[in-house]
Symmetry: C2
């Protein structure tokens, strides 16, 4: 049985590949901004879970019989939902806003077959960002460059982004965008990995 | 000021390098088996912490004025201290023993200068290994090969080893051998990283 990753995320691809999972990639082409606008009143868990499910169902419908894996990550902070930034200026403003505070990062995953949901999981992480000096912030953005624009929250946590945080309460894989242990368990249950 | 990593661990080296820390490497050449034998009655936290401190102090003494970082990881299970395996046969027996049980993995880190301890930190993780089938175990060892011999517990958790676990309660970086966020905070306090 074939697994289709419904995401173009380099981080999700790398996590699954490192864990020894066979899959092909076919990113969902949903308009996430429209979907997030529709979910404006919902909490971060609901937003991430809904988007992960929609991606999985949408992509599974065009791969009959295959299992599609959707994933999504959203930050909840101060009543807002935050996601990726388009420019380094936006990234700097976002990091200044999060600096010295704890925010919620939610990663969700979902499996679907032939348009129907098989499984879903939501993993919340409490991320405590330390008080970043202007010098640190400039050095960080200069060193990491455009790489930070591909991460929700502009962390690049698997790189120099670890220097941003005093404390992380939650699953590392989920911080990188995929609750991997839960996904692997679901794939075993679907008979797609050896138990 | 210079940082010296007192460890030959590929995993610790990769974690520090990815986080953007500048350092040189000079592995401590202590006889860990002798030290672990001396600590036979102690708990896993004490063993890991003592070894991390001894490595940091030992290496710092031969780099005057520099800061040395020592690290150690130990598994506590069923009254024993477990570490690395020498052969794939030993690895298979160890994984069979841990299969279906929760064990304690302790990673410790220490900083020293001129032979004196500056800082130390111990990070315990509860690792719940699922019930591994003989087929899975054979596939896992065939796929990962000798790579598992370089990990305490033979996990290679950053690779296919994620498939071994139902649940991990603790810090991911510590599972890989280094409580990275705590180390980065200590390096900032010593003025070795920009705050």
């Amino acid at each position: 049985m074939r697994l289709v990753l419904a995401s173009a995320s380099a981080s999700r691809t790398a996590l699954l590949r490192a864990a020894g999972v066979d899959f092909i990639t076919d990113p969902a082409d949903l308009d996430e901004e429209v979907l997030m606008a529709q979910l404006r009143g919902a909490d971060a868990q609901t937003v991430a879970s809904t988007l992960a499910q929609q991606k999985a169902r949408h992509v599974s419908a065009r791969h009959p019989g295959a299992v599609a894996l959707g994933g999504d990550s959203v930050i909840g902070f101060d009543g807002d939902h935050l996601s990726k930034c388009a420019t380094l200026e936006e990234a700097k403003a976002l990091l200044r806003r999060l600096s010295g505070h704890t925010h919620l990062l939610v990663s969700a995953a979902a499996l679907a077959r032939d348009g129907d949901l098989l499984w879903t999981h939501v993993s919340p992480c409490q991320m405590t960002m330390r008080d970043l000096s202007p010098q640190f912030l400039d050095d960080y953005i200069a060193a990491e460059g455009m790489a930070i624009l591909s991460s929700v929250g502009c962390y690049h946590f698997e790189g120099r982004g670890a220097q941003l945080f005093d404390r992380v309460d939650g699953d590392y894989f989920s911080v990188l965008g995929l609750p991997l242990l839960a996904v692997l368990a679901a794939l075993r249950k679907e008979g797609m990995l050896t138990s």
